[in-house]
Symmetry: C2
Subunit: 395 residues, 2 copies
């Protein structure tokens, strides 16, 4: 883990989630830097934003922060003025417990929408976490989970200006995932020194190529947040937008966020297969992205993958109703390396393709034959389990 950064997980006695909805487990996490850090964040584009998102949007303008409080189980969204007050009190309380300024504490929440935070329990959790501050990265990653089945952690170590630098990331998300980071939380910490403006730019680039390129069900949430703290404990000369070292750290950030994205798609609610949709030779990159998103979001494509049916007609039809230019007579489709359609028609190799689907995760490639635009989107198949999970769990 990055030097000078600690984390802890705890829970209020009965948990933060509405009672009876979930077994009590750690559902409050704290991430703290032992010194002031540069901070940046990217938030949901949903017009209905949770209170912690609105609060963090204001605080992040300073480009500085030292701590992040996260709770799972309750989104503190659609909770009106009380919700804003609760988010503020949470930050203030954590600041008091940690002996830092309230302006240095960011908050994030995930879980059920429309119920007020049980402040007594949450505050207890924050206090417990603040007193200990000795959790492992995995402990913290577990405490931010909702319907996730596994904690998601990724890290890289690199040398910048002769100094050893670590970048560690955790994320949660498995349903309600769509571009623009739906119901997705990601927290990155690094001991590199980075100027706030450079940090913001790098985070936006990394998110654009990772969390904005995964989709489970096309729903975008009220709470999505990706945050990064960079505390400079590594002792490198601070990276700015013109630093020769920026691309190196950017690359590490891209890899960490892409790995976390992949873990989220693979943990898609009820998923049995991770699916990469790769659209190439589209008229433009934007066209490639639109076609890839339409395919990745198509319930018919996703159920076909679940049925191990190389149903390329559904793939081409999804591209056809996206806003991308599609000329079927130019299009080829591959399941892994098996070409199932050529010039918009069957190659008769559906059975070989079905065997690919049966043997593991797959790459669907659509070659539109119209230009040089390309895009990759990660998704998963759609199974009965998704229905069961979402008919029962409240988000």
């Amino acid at each position: 883990v990055a030097a000078g950064i600690k984390g802890a997980a705890a829970t209020g006695k009965k948990g933060v989630a509405p009672s009876g909805k979930r077994p009590a487990r750690n559902d409050v996490a704290l991430i703290v830097s032992d010194r002031p850090a540069s901070a940046a964040a990217v938030f949901t584009t949903n017009k209905v934003k949770a209170a912690p998102v609105r609060l963090a949007m204001k605080k992040i303008r300073s480009g500085q922060a030292r701590a992040i409080v996260v709770n799972s189980g309750n989104a503190n969204a659609c909770t009106g003025a009380r919700g804003m007050e609760d988010a503020r009190v949470t930050a203030d309380f954590a600041a008091g417990a940690l002996g830092i300024n309230a302006g240095e504490v960011l908050v994030a929440s995930t879980g059920v929408i429309g119920e007020p935070l049980p402040m007594d329990r949450l505050v207890r959790g924050v206090l417990d976490a603040a007193l200990v501050l000795d959790g492992s990265v995995e402990d913290v990653a577990r405490a931010i989970m909702t319907t996730d089945t596994v904690p998601k952690v990724s890290a890289r170590t690199l040398i910048i200006g002769g100094k050893r630098v670590t970048l560690t990331g955790i994320a949660k998300g498995s349903g309600m995932i769509a571009p623009n980071m739906a119901t997705m939380l990601c927290f990155l910490v690094t001991d590199a020194a980075v100027e706030p403006k450079a940090l913001d730019t790098m985070l936006r680039r990394a998110v654009g190529r990772s969390f904005n390129r995964i989709t489970v069900d096309g729903d975008r949430s009220t709470n999505d947040t990706a945050m990064i703290l960079a505390n400079g404990a590594a002792g490198n000369r601070a990276i700015n937008l013109r630093s020769a070292d920026l691309p190196k750290l950017q690359d590490a950030m891209n890899r960490v966020t892409w790995e976390l994205s992949r873990m989220i798609a693979a943990d898609g609610e009820g998923a049995s297969r991770l699916v990469e949709v790769y659209v190439k030779n589209a008229r433009t990159e934007s066209d490639a992205e639109k076609a890839a998103m339409a395919i990745a979001n198509s319930m018919l494509v996703k159920t076909a993958v679940y049925g191990r049916d190389a149903n390329w007609g559904r793939i081409l039809a999804a591209a056809g109703y996206s806003a991308a230019v599609v000329r079927e007579e130019k299009a080829s489709i591959f399941i892994n390396r098996v070409k199932v359609a050529s010039a918009g028609m069957s190659t008769g190799r559906d059975k070989a393709a079905a065997r690919e689907m049966d043997s593991g995760d797959i790459v669907i490639t659509l070659d539109l034959g119209l230009g040089s635009g390309e895009a990759r989107v990660m998704t998963c198949d759609l199974t009965e389990k998704y229905i069961v999970i979402n008919a029962q769990y409240r988000t």
Copy 2:
């Protein structure tokens, strides 16, 4: 049924669908007018269009037709030059069997994408149907079904210019349903006399308020088609765009297409509940439509309905990520008449709302409190059965 119009259903020996995929049953339908008729049609907006759609788009320009050949089981989509030739041969063959011009025969197909039509079987079915021409409306409606569980028929009788006029419609569709008429076929026949231009205008209006306002899974197909024949056998003076009688027939057409739409949504693959999403007081009508569509397409909303969970947070979140203007503090949400959210916050009446969901089909009302735009969209809940149907059946 409209005077002077007959229908028949038949099948090639083993059916038109790829062998082994479905039990053999009637899968070829013929609709024939005993005299020339005005004709109009609306087609899918998918850029990947099936061969019969491309052929019918050309033929309909004349504004005249006498017969429609429909097959289920095979979409004749993504079948290249051979597919176009097959569609043409089908129309020519039917024209020969009926003793009319090939230019007067329209074709439509629905079913699996990407496999060539088994022409020997299809031609046999067309011939059998043409020889008899004594099917009931329900027989014909059954022959165009794919994953539909019930045939869909609606009719109205009215007086126009002192003459008794009948309008009869049949439709198919249950999955891959989305605005712009995805995998939906609708055939309307009337014995009213209507000029082609007026018929086209009326059909577009009716479709815009019915088939374009239902959604099951957001997928739009390659084959969607709504067609109407108006043969004038009733003997009324032909309706044109300025006729005082136009609104009366328009009203009947709106009702018939709305009823058929409702039947399609209610028969949504695996559905257990019909759901009407009503957005009102949006900034504009377009905003209302966008918000209603986002809610109706949200997998999280649809699974919540299946779970009988009045999860209004998901409803507001879906409106929030649509392109509509949403200010949560202005929004109210109702499940039937139970107000579950007011000023963007819980009213604490979730349990009463859940009881409404348990007792039958529901209306979700979102009052955005911003203007006077409104829109209604029909959809259904999302259940495990949808997954099973679409993982197994090839479209």
